[in-house]
Symmetry: D3
Subunit: 313 residues, 6 copies
C-alpha cells in the first residue's frame, strides 16, 4: 500500500518553532530531565483505590470477603498513600520550578527537594487522617439520597449508580487536598468527576453533611460556596459568581468570597441560577429555573413567575 | 526517598469504626463470603456485547465478515446471556439478603438459592427473546435521527456517533430488565448511558418507536413517563415530577404516575421543562425553554413569551 | 449450576430476519469481506497521540525528556498519520460503497481503490501540514483560559484539566478533517469530546483564536457558526438553528448558513440561547439565560429582564 | 479482500464426530454446565503470588517497602489461598466426576459438593501452614547455590536468576500439594517449572535441604526419588526408573519405589544417569556421563572410564 | 536526575551504516510500505485458538459449556482461519519479494498479489479440512501417553500438562502447513513448541499415531524422519543426520533423506543418538545412551555396553 | 461458599520469623524505602526493544516502514537507554548497599548516590556505543546459520525462529554489560535466553563472529570460555570447568581461567563435553558425545570410539 512519506521533517520543524515561541512568551526556563507533572491516569487509579478503601464491600475488589476488609484496607492504603505522595511531590516540585503560588525554594532561590519531600509527606499524612471522617460524611450523603429520591430502592443502589454520589465522594476527597495546598491535584480530581457525571463542583466549595444532587447534569458549584447540612440540589443548578472583580490595573481579583452561601435544609430545583455572595436562608425552597442574585430569608419559598407560554393550535 | 509510615493502623481502625457504626445504623446482618453484588464493569461488557449482537456489522468486532454474522451472534449470545444470568442472580440474591422489594425466601425466611437461580434463568430468557424486537425499534430510531437532523449524512453515522442513539439503545435494553423485575441492573445500565452522553433516561420510562434526541446533554426523562411514536427531543429538556407526594407519616410515596405523557409526533425544543402527570397532545411543538405543568391539546404550538432582554450599548 | 440453553436458535433467527428487513428497506448491496468502517477506538488512540505531538512535555508520555521532543514527535507522527490514513481510507471506501456525498467511483461506477488511496493520502498530508498552526491557536486558547478564569493558577493547569481546553483541542483537529471532506471522522472526534466534557461543538463551526469555554456542560455550537477571536462562553450556552427549512417536497434542507455569527471579544454567560443566522456584534456581553433570535449591534450589553420570582415564607 | 468461506460447517461436523467417538471410547458421561477443570493460567498466578509471599522484598511487587511486608503478605495470602482453594475444589470435583483415584461421592455414588468443599478447605489450610518451613528450606537452598557456584556474586543473584532456584521453589510448593492428595495440581506446577527451566522434577520426589542444581537443562528427577541434604546436581542428570514393572495382566504397575536414593552431601556431575531403586552413599561424587544402575557405598568417587576418543588430523 | 543525552545521533548513524552494508551484501531490493512478514505473536494466538478448537472442553475458554461447543468452534474457526490466511499471505508475499523457494510472480516477474491471495486461500482451506483427522491422531497420542507412563492418573492430566503432548499437538498442526508449502510458518510453530518444552521436532518429520515423548527435554527429531505408529521416546533422544552432504561446488545439499526411519512399536530410551538414514526395525527397544548409525532388524534389543565406571572411595 | 479463614495471622508470623532469622544470618542492614533491585520484567522489555533497534524491519514493530527506521531507532534508543540506566543504577545502588564486589561509597562509607548515577550513566553510554558493532557481529551470525543448516531457507527465517540466533543476540548484549561491570544484569539477560532456548551461555564468555548453535537445547558455555570465529556447535554440548579450585581455607576460588579455548573454524557435534582450560585447535571437528579434558592440535578430527552396543533379538 503506497502510503506517502508525510514530509514529517517540515511538520516537526513547524511544531518546534511553535513550541519555541510559546516558551519564549512564557519566559519558561529550559527544562532538564523528565517533565515532572502530576498525571491524570495516576490520580484516577488513586481515587479508585480510595473508593475501595472507603467502601470495601461495595466498591472494593469483587472477590473481597468481609473478614478480609481490614487487611485489604491496610495493604491498599500503604500503596495508595505512596502513590498520592508521589503525585503531591510532583505537584510541589512543578510549582517550585515555575514559582506558582506558595513555592518551596532554598536560600539560592532554587527548588529545595528535601523540603518538598517533607511537605508532601506531611500533606499526605493529613489527608490520610481525614479518611474516617470522610467515610462518615459520605454515609450521611448515601442516606440523604436514599431518603430524598422516591426511585431509590436501597442504600447500595445509591452507592453503586448515583452520579451525585460519585461527585460528592470525589469532592470530599478533593476538598481535603485543596485545604492542604495542592489545589492542582484537587482540581484534577474534580474534573474526573465532572467528566463522568456532568457535575462540576470546585474543590474549594465547603459542603455540609447529608448532601444530595439528583440527576446532576449541568450542576456548577463555585470555589467559595458554603453549603450547609441536608441540602438537596437538582440538575442544571448554578451556584456561581455574579461577575469577576478586577483591581485598578484591570487584573482579575482572586481569592475573595464570590459565590452563594446556602444554609441548612435548603432545596434547589432544576435549572435555578444563584449568583454572587448571597445567602439562601435555612429551610428555603428555590423553584425550578429561578434566577437569584440577592439574599433570601430562612424558610422562604421562591417560585419563578414565568409569563404564560403562548399557545397556538 | 524518606516516605513516612502513614500511621496506617490508626486510619484502618478509624475506618473500621465508621463502617461498624454504619452497619449498626442499617441493622445489617453480618456478611459471610464474598460481597455478591452486581458489577458495573461486568454490565458494561455485557451491554457492549449486546450492541454487537444487535448491529453486528456496525458495532461488532472490526474483523467480522457478513457471512459470519449468525455464528458470531450465536457464540456471543451464549456468552453474554450467561454473564447476564450471573448479574441477575447476584442481584436477586442481594435483594433476598437485605429483603429489598420482592424477595425470594424459603420457608425459614432464608434466601432460597435454587428459586433465585430459576427466577434469574427465566428473566434472562425473557430478555433474550425481546432482542429481535429491540433491534426493530432501534432501526426506527436510527431512521428518525437520520431524517430529523440536517447534519446527518448517513444512517451509519447516526449509529456510530450520535449520543442520542447510544442513550436509546441502552434504554431499550434496560427497560426490558426493568419490566422483568431487576430494576437495579436496569438503573446501572441507564447510568452508563448517562455518564457517556449526559442523557438521563430512567429505565422505567415507556418510549415508542422512531425516537430521536439531538445533542442531548442535560435531558432528564422520569420513571413513569409515557412517550409515543416519532417524538423528537433536544438538549436540556426535562420530563420530570412536579413534586414528591408524601403519605400521612411524611414518607415519600413511590410507584404512582408522576411524570408527563407525551403523545405521538411531538417535538420538544431545547431547555423545555415539563413537570407532573400532564399530557402533551399528539403533534404538538413545545418551544425552547418553555415551562409547562398542565395538559396541552393535540397539535398545539407552545412558545415561551419571554420578556425582551434589556440592551445597553 | 443449571443454566438454561437460552433457545439461542430462535433469537439468532429473529435477529437475522430483523437485519434482513432493514437491509431491504435501505436497498443495501450485500457486503463481502470485512465491514470496512472507521473505528471509534482507533480514532481515540489517534487523537491521544496527536495531543502528545502538540504538547509533548504536557500531554506526551510521562517519561519524555525535553531533549527527546523532536524524535518523539517524528516517530509518533509517522505512526499516527499512517493510522489516520487508514481511517480516512476506510471512510472514503465506505462512502463510495454506499454512494454517500462525494464518492469516488471508476468508469464502471464501482469504488476505485487506487483513487481512494490517493485521495486519502492527500487529505492526511493536508491535515498534517496544519498541525503547527493548530498548536499556535491552542496556545492562544490556553492563554485566554488562564487570563479569563480567576480560579486558574497556571497555564499548565488549564492544559491538564480544563474540559473547555479538551473540547477546543479536539475541535481544532476535527475542523481540519471537516474541511478536508471527511466529515464522518470529524464528527466522531467531536463526539469523543462531547462525551468527555458535555460540550457539543459541531466540527463545521469556525472558531477564532483565544477561545475559552468555562465549565462547559451543555454547550452546543452548531455546524455553520462563525466565532471571532477572544470569545468567552459559559456552560449551557446554545448557538443553534432557529428552525430547519424544508424544500417544496418537505425534505430538510442542508448546507445553508443557519447558526449565529459571534464577532470578536464577545462574552456569553451561562444558559444563554442564541438561535438562527444572527450576528452578535463585536465586544458585546450576553447575560445569563438570555434568549436571542435577532442581530445585536457591537458593544451591546444584553440582560434578560426576568420577572421577579415570587417569594412566600 | 476475497477471503474464502472455509466451508466451516464440514469442519465443525468432522470435529464433532471425532469428539463423539473419543467420548464413546472413554465411556464419558455427558457433561453439563462448565468444564470444571483446574487452569494452568490460574496456577501460574498463584505460584507467582506465593513467590512474593515467600520472598517479599525480592520477588514481591517492585514498590513494596520493608515496613509493609506483613500487610502485603496477609493481604496476598488471603487472596491466593482462596484462589488455590478454588483450584483444589475444581480438581476434586473433576476427580469425583470421572472416578479418578480417591474420589468423594455421596451415598448415591454422586460427587458430594459439600464434602469436596470441606476437603479442599482442609487441604489448603495444611498447605498454608507449611509455608514458613518452605521458606526456611529455600533459604538453605539459596545459601547452597551461593556457596556452590564460583560465578555467584550474591545470594540475591541466586534468587533472582538461577533456574535451579526457580525449579526447587516450585518443587517445594508442589510437593506439599502432592502429599496432600492433589497430585494433578502438583504436576501442573512442576510442568510450569519444567517449561521455564528445562528441569523436570516430579512433585513426588523427596528432597532435603541445601539442594543445588546448576545450569539444569535436561535434569530429570523421578517420582519416588529420595534425596538427602546438601546434594548438588548438574545439567542433564537423570535420576530415573530402570524399567517399568507390569503385573500379570501386562498392566503397568504404579506406586512402588523405582527411583534412586541419594544420600547427604552427594555431588552428581553433568550427564550422569542413575536408574532404579539404588542408593548413592553419603558423600559420594558421581562423575560426568557416568551410567549407574547399582548401589554405591558412601564416600565413593565414580568416574566413567571412557575409551580414548580417536583423533585424526 | 541528570541522565545523559546518550549521543543518540552517532549510534543511529552507526546502525544505519551497518544495515546498509548488510543489505548491500544481500542484494536486497529497497522495501516500500510495511515489512510484510509473518509474526510470532500472531502465530502463537492462532495455535492457542486451534488447541481450543481441537479440545474445546479441555483447552477452550474456561467458561465454555458443552452444549455451546459447536457454536464456539464455528466462531473461532472463522476467526482463526482468517488470521492464518493473513499469515500465509504475508509469507507468500515475502517469499515472492525475495525469490525464495517456489515464488509467485506475474509476467513481469513481479509478485502477483492476486495469485498469492488465491494460493493462500487454497492452502488454508486444505489445512482446515485436516483438523478432524488431526484431532483423531491426537486422541491416539493422549491414550498412548496415559498407557505408557505409570505416573499418569488420567487422560486429561496428559492433555493439560504433558510437554510431549504439547509438542506433538504443535507438530501435527505444523506438519500440515509444511506439506502445504508454507515451511516458514511451520518452522515458527515448531519453535514455539521447542521453546516451551525443549523438544525440537522439525515440521517435516512424518510421525504415526499413538506417539509418546516422556520428559522430552533435549529431544531432536530431524526433517526427513519417518516414525511409525505406537513409538515411545524419552528425553535427550536425537534422531539426526550423520553428516551434511555437499555438492561439487561445496554447497550444502538439501532435500534428501538424511534422518532415521523408526518403524512401528519402537521404544527409544533417554539419551540415545541415532544418526543417518538408518532403519530401526519394528518392535525394537533402543537402550539409554545408545549410539547408532546403522540399521537394526525388527524386534532387536539394543543396550550400550558401557565400560564399568571406576570407583575410588 | 464457606471458605475457611486460613488462620492467616499464624502464617504471617511464621514467615516473619523465618525472614528475621535469615536476615540475622546474613548480617543484613535493615532496609528502608523500596527494595531497589533490578527487575526481570524491565530487562525483558529492554532486550525486546534492543532487538527492534538492531533489526528494525525484522524484529521492530509490525507496522514500521523502511523510511521510518531511523526515527523509530532514535526514539526507541532514547527510551530504552533511560530504562537501562535505571536498571544499572538500581544494580549499583544494590551492590553498594550490600558491599558486593566493587562498590561505590562516600567518605563515610555510605553509598554515594551521585557517584552511582554518574557511573551508571557512563556505563550505559559505553553500552550504547557498542550497538552498531553488535549488529555487524549478529549479521555474521545470521549468515553463518543460513550457510550451516541445510534446512534454512532464508536469512530471515534464521532471525525469526532459530533459538541459537536468539541466544547469541542476547549474549552479545549481555557480554557488553558484563564487560562494563554490571554482571548481575548480564546474568539476568543470559537467563532470559536460557529459559527461552535451553541454551546457557555465561555472559562472560568471549565469542567471535559467525557463531552458530543448532537446535541448542542443553548447550552450556562457561564464564571464561574463549571462542574464535566461525565456530559451530550442536545441542547438549558442554564447554565447562573440570573442577572448582579451592584456596587453603577451602573457599571456592573465582576469576581464574577454567573453561575451554575453542579456536577458529571448529565444529562441535551434539553431546560433546569439553572440560577445563584446554585448547581446541583451529579447524578441528569434535564428534558427537566426545569427552575431552586435554588440548587438541589444530585440524584434528575427534571421534568417540564407543564400544559396540549389545544387540539381542
Amino acid at each position: 500500500m503506497a502510503v506517502a512519506n508525510w514530509k514529517i521533517d517540515n511538520i516537526v520543524h513547524g511544531l518546534q518553532q511553535a513550541r519555541h515561541d510559546w516558551r519564549e512568551s512564557q519566559h519558561r526556563p529550559k527544562e532538564f530531565g523528565g517533565r515532572e507533572l502530576p498525571s491524570k491516569e495516576a490520580l484516577k487509579a488513586i481515587v479508585d483505590d480510595l473508593c475501595g478503601i472507603l467502601f470495601p464491600m461495595r466498591l472494593g475488589p469483587a472477590d473481597l470477603r468481609q473478614e478480609g476488609e481490614d487487611v485489604y484496607i491496610a495493604f491498599t492504603l500503604d500503596k495508595v498513600l505512596s502513590a498520592l505522595y508521589e503525585q503531591v511531590r510532583l505537584t510541589l516540585a512543578y510549582e517550585a520550578r515555575y514559582r506558582i503560588s506558595a513555592t518551596i525554594r532554598d536560600s539560592n532561590h532554587q527548588p529545595d527537594a528535601a523540603m518538598i519531600q517533607q511537605q508532601a509527606s506531611s500533606m499526605v499524612q493529613t489527608f490520610a487522617n481525614a479518611l474516617p471522617d470522610i467515610r462518615r460524611l459520605l454515609d450521611s450523603d448515601v442516606q440523604a439520597a436514599y431518603e430524598g429520591d422516591p426511585a431509590a430502592r436501597s442504600v447500595d443502589e445509591v452507592l453503586l449508580c448515583y452520579p451525585g454520589m460519585l461527585a460528592i465522594t470525589y469532592h470530599r476527597l478533593a476538598h481535603v487536598l485543596y485545604q492542604n495546598n495542592v489545589p492542582l491535584l484537587a482540581r484534577m480530581i474534580a474534573e474526573l468527576a465532572h467528566s463522568a457525571t456532568g457535575i462540576d463542583i470546585h474543590p474549594g466549595a465547603q459542603i455540609g453533611k447529608s448532601f444530595f444532587i439528583d440527576h446532576g447534569t449541568g450542576v456548577v458549584i463555585g470555589e467559595t460556596c458554603i453549603i450547609g447540612a441536608r441540602v438537596r440540589i437538582y440538575q442544571a443548578v448554578t451556584l456561581g459568581a455574579k461577575r469577576f472583580e478586577v483591581d485598578d490595573a484591570g487584573n482579575l481579583q482572586k481569592d475573595y468570597a464570590r459565590h452563594p452561601v446556602v444554609e441548612d435544609d435548603v432545596v434547589i430545583y432544576a435549572g435555578a441560577t444563584i449568583l454572587g455572595r448571597v445567602t439562601i436562608g435555612k429551610g428555603s425552597v428555590i423553584g425550578g429555573n429561578v434566577w437569584l442574585t440577592h439574599d433570601i430569608p430562612p424558610h422562604s419559598q421562591i417560585m419563578q413567575s414565568m409569563p404564560k407560554p403562548k399557545i397556538s393550535v
